[in-house]
Symmetry: C2
Subunit: 211 residues, 2 copies
Amino acid sequence: MPQASRSNSKKERRQESETLILSAAEKVFAEAGFGGATMQLIADVAGLPKANLHYYFPTKEALYRQVVQNIFQIWLQAADTFDNADGPAEGIGAYIDAKMEISRRHPAGSKVWASEVMHRAPVIQDYLETTLMEWTEGRAAIIRRWIAEGRMAPVNPNHLLYMLWATTQHYADFGHQIETLNGGAPLSDGQWEEAKQSVKEIILRGIGVTS
Amino acid sequence: MPQASRSNSKKERRQESETLILSAAEKVFAEAGFGGATMQLIADVAGLPKANLHYYFPTKEALYRQVVQNIFQIWLQAADTFDNADGPAEGIGAYIDAKMEISRRHPAGSKVWASEVMHRAPVIQDYLETTLMEWTEGRAAIIRRWIAEGRMAPVNPNHLLYMLWATTQHYADFGHQIETLNGGAPLSDGQWEEAKQSVKEIILRGIGVTS
DNA sequence: ATTGATCCTGACCGTATGGTCAAGTTCAGG
DNA sequence: CCTGAACTTGACCATACGGTCAGGATCAAT
């Protein structure tokens, strides 16, 4: 009988190897960019021989594509906070919290995403045109409703969303700059909290919401 | 006698060649990243043989370094608007205008800068630690003074600056995403104006300044 | 017209990279 | 215990890359 209970079934080991490789790849792609990353370095970080990587992912591009898609999923997940909200203060506030948390927990992923978009999205252009487009229009509609209901100032929804993305992701993508300006030390727990509060405070007040 | 009046003196031609190469390099580095860019492609874009590039710039890294330094100069130039201002509305408003204009006019440069910082600033770390650090502290002091004078809300100056950088540079670095969400078309003149106004409106209101 | 310095470039070189492969190892299922 | 499929990996290959160089072209100064 198949040993479903054993911790290392064949399927599970495959899953583990893929996760290990994807995690190493995310780091290396974030630090070196797609062009600067090498399969050898990813293999070293993962602690596997290079040929093994090509067993699980046929090409460097396939591996990269998987990394980017994983990030995109996390990115979209933060959307829930927006939908289930009662109003702008709660919805946008929670969205900022969620995205700041992503910047803090997945800085490498954020950088890979930024790099991909900066280079004209060679592998996820279709996602931008479909999923992201729909997501954006949906949230813009919610914002417009809030405005119509007089619950926030009449601002352009798209530019508000861009500001939310820009500001929150900045803490991951430009984390090194922030760290340098912080005297070379990563932001402490308290400083992260302060960052989150600052962003929320300025933006919420900026759209006429008194939290 | 040296032909100082002739349009193509030796010095001028050297200058022209260097500018041509730097311009091509900026484009290619922005589109492919440092690792993905090739000297051959830069040469093709510049319309010169590859060996010629190595005559003016000994290595790929030296060329890249020059590109990054040029961007940094433009970046710092926008600071003037901050210093010569009477108060937060004028100072920060003008700074946003200036940085939005940079995003519009130098999108490639902005991307190169972003890429450099994202990759832990391998070639301009010293600039971050000296020039940028001083610049930031100087502007933070101005903001603190404005706050003390009761001319704006008491916000953390550093996080305000990060927000200004993030939001304005987003329009260059993530221009492709914005373009896609705009139906595939670059922002029109009017849309750029709207973007600028939106950013200024939300941030100025967000820091308690009624422009 | 001569000359020396600067500029230009095709051909070349060593290396590192993405990817392949064949021979071996492991292991679930019978 | 056998067997075949899934997995692992050291050795290898073709290519593309950054960089070099020798020889020629250009041109300001005399």
